[in-house]
């Protein structure tokens, strides 16, 4: 019985500790998803302005919301309602804001496709040009080729 009680207490302590760790992790994660509204342009948990009138209050509000057991989405919505959309440190992934996330990768992807396309087109044209120039180049001797190889390969 004593052993059982010890086990239960140990399990409860573990759950409590896990809960504390979960609380800290969520506080840290959510606090890094929001900006301080004092005008310092810094992430909420990184605002260290002396006598900042916002960050302490906002952190307390975040702590209170976490203690109430609010979900992450609800907490963020609550902050947006109170402080406006600029309180979020990054655009949401809905509506027009989704474009913010898509564009960089779309630009990179389009660029990569364009490069592959251009190189393949050039490559397809190459044999005819190479065949035409091969006959002219043969008698020129090796010095010219050495010079060209040096020019083209030594950075």
């Amino acid at each position: 019985m004593k052993r059982l009680l010890q086990s239960v207490l140990l399990a409860a302590a573990c759950i409590l500790l896990l809960g504390a760790s979960d609380f800290n992790a969520r506080f840290n994660e959510l606090g890094h998803k929001m900006m301080c509204k004092c005008g310092c342009n810094q992430v909420l948990l990184e605002c260290n302005h002396v006598n900042c009138t916002y960050s302490d209050r906002m952190r307390d509000e975040l702590t209170a919301a976490l203690q109430r057991g609010d979900s992450d989405d609800l907490i963020l919505q609550g902050f947006v309602q109170k402080y406006g959309a600029t309180v979020l440190a990054a655009p949401t992934t809905t509506g027009f804001n989704r474009i913010a996330w898509i564009m960089p990768f779309a630009a990179l992807g389009a660029g990569l496709l364009a490069v592959v396309y251009v190189v393949r087109r050039w490559k397809a044209r190459q044999p005819a040009v190479a065949a035409a120039s091969a006959g002219e180049a043969a008698p020129a001797g090796f010095d010219e080729y050495r010079q060209r190889a040096r020019q083209e390969t030594e950075l």
């Binding site: 890094h32 998803k33 900006m35 005008g39 310092c40 342009n41 810094q42 992430v43 990184e46 605002c47 260290n48 002396v50 006598n51 406006g84 959309a85 600029t86 309180v87 979020l88 440190a89 990054a90 655009p91 949401t92 509506g95 027009f96 804001n97 913010a100 996330w101 564009m103 960089p104 990768f105 630009a107 990179l108 660029g111 990569l112 490069v115 592959v116 251009v118 190189v119 393949r120 050039w122 490559k123 044209r125 190459q126 020019q151 083209e152 390969t153 030594e154 950075l155």
Partner: protein, 672 residues
Amino acid sequence: MPAFGSYSLLLSLALSVYCFGVGALVLLRPRMAHAERLGETARRAGMGIFLALTCAMLALIAACFQNDFSVAYIFHHSNKDLSPAYKFSVLWSGQEGSLLFWAWLLSAYGLVLRWRHKVDTRLVAYAGMIVAAVQVFFALLINLAANPFAMMVGNIPPDGNGLNPLLQYPEMVIHPPMLYLGYVGFTIPFAFALGALIMKYPGEKWIHITRRWTMVTWLFLSCGISLGAHWAYSVLGWGGYWGWDPVENASFLPWLTGTAFLHSVMMQEKRGMMKMWNMWLIFSTFLLAIFGTFLTRSGVVSSVHAFAQSSIGPWFSTFLALSFAVCMVAFVANRKHLKSENKLESLVSRESSFLFNNLVLLAACFTVLWGTLFPVLSEWVQGTKVTVGPPFFNRVMVPITLFLLLLTAMGPLLAWRSTSWESIKRNFTIPAALAVATAILLVALGWKPWEKMSQFYSLMAISLAVLVMATVSSEFLRGARVIAEKTGHNLFASMVQLTRRNTRRYGGYIVHIGIVIAIVGFAGSAFNTDSEKELGPGDSMTIGGYTLVLDSNTQDDNPNYASESAIVNVFQDGKKIDTMYPERRFFKASQQTATIVANRSTLKEDLYLVYTGNSENGRPILKAHINPLVMWFWIGVWVLIAGTGIALVPNAAALSLRQPSRVQAAAVEAGD
């Protein structure tokens, strides 16, 4: 003194207009009477701008040292008790002074350009005319819109408002000049490129002339950005050195395009390719440098660094539009001149690796620009502003950077024109195996990339960093072995020889190593931790493996500021290892407070202490951060500087083979 400065500014405007006007006239009508003499007067007027602006700058510095608060700029940015070193930095601490400083730097670059005109008289005349046009813009600005010698209205105040406390830090004395040297310096390669395009200059000589200009400018910009990062780390006290702030982004944009230009210009030199691309890269770099200034001065975006905002935005946007129009017209009119002499032959070649590298750098540049401007776009489209902060940039830029690292690793292994898969497999197997082994080792050491995205990215960054190091090292080793076989020197001496024979190539590889080391330092941020506590004397807090015990807190007072320091003893494994002094200062003239961080930096991690303030009962509140691997970031910057320095040194004469002497020596030994 202010009157002398004002007249000097006017003289600089007159000389700039003359240099540009007469320079352009002579180039447009080269057969007009006395064209050569007139051209020479324009060149000398261009050199005179430097003298005039030096006088203006010295007048402003003198006014600052004389505490002449009749000058509005001195009143707003200085005070009697400001230390002499910071009185110099007053010059670039505000709008008007920094624009004067910018104009002066441009005139200094112009002076060197015109001094060395014999390198190619006609091309330099074109480039000089373009530099003069930019100079006219800045001269107009400092004479009409942001005059540093504007006088105070009414009574002269007994003391000034003082310098912004955040700027009263040693790095701030050198960070802005470095950054400006970088920004302004790109005007020179831009002027040469545009000049070469306008005059349809044959060959790649303009690239040879501007190679060192571009590298030196890039180095200045790199140093400026790094110093800014170090300043942010030491003064802003939020625990990091790069916060994706619009001002930081503004300096990063021309750095990215400048880096792309430094790579792709080699394609033009070696194979006569990518001429249009290079032209637009250097145009973009110049335009982005101006755009960055526009961003930070106009108030379009809000920033923690914006020390000098005003209404000069329209000046910059007009100049930007005008410059873009000139570039576009010159390009459209002369684009046939920029036809490539060769085409890419294979997707798997050194050329295409340069192309992909350029593409990724430009994608990174676009991403930073996009993120910086998205709040403005959002407000325009949706009517509501959004914030685009570090979470966005970290999530988007990290994958792009990892892709760039992969390309950096592959580049040296690819041959020009075309590379066989067998060759790639042969050269890539060992580096790839090392990278995979690193990833496995990190997981074995306790990293859990499956739990947090940031840890996954860190693991990838470090593994790819090993891949780059391995491929670059294999390049050094391959070349050094050949030299060692021929000369009999040891491997290290052969590597030195190899580097001296082709400083640009191997200096470039060292720069890559520097970047990779810096990225390793950046990767450590995934494991940052922090803790905040109110401490009384004898109280302690624990973070990481450290126990911090507050010994006491002291106060000090000098004419410029009053300060409070916490004396914190640092213990590790029960042993005292250090004493740290985080500080906060109250600047009397500006009535503002700033923090001075105490940092204990080791190769493993930084213990970073901030005195955030006092509690209601007067006890200090300390915030402690453990920031792993940060020192590697600064080491990476030093390696980058060393690599660029090596790349700037001219190649040593081709190594004379000493094979015969070795044979003789062997014969003598055998004879003995």
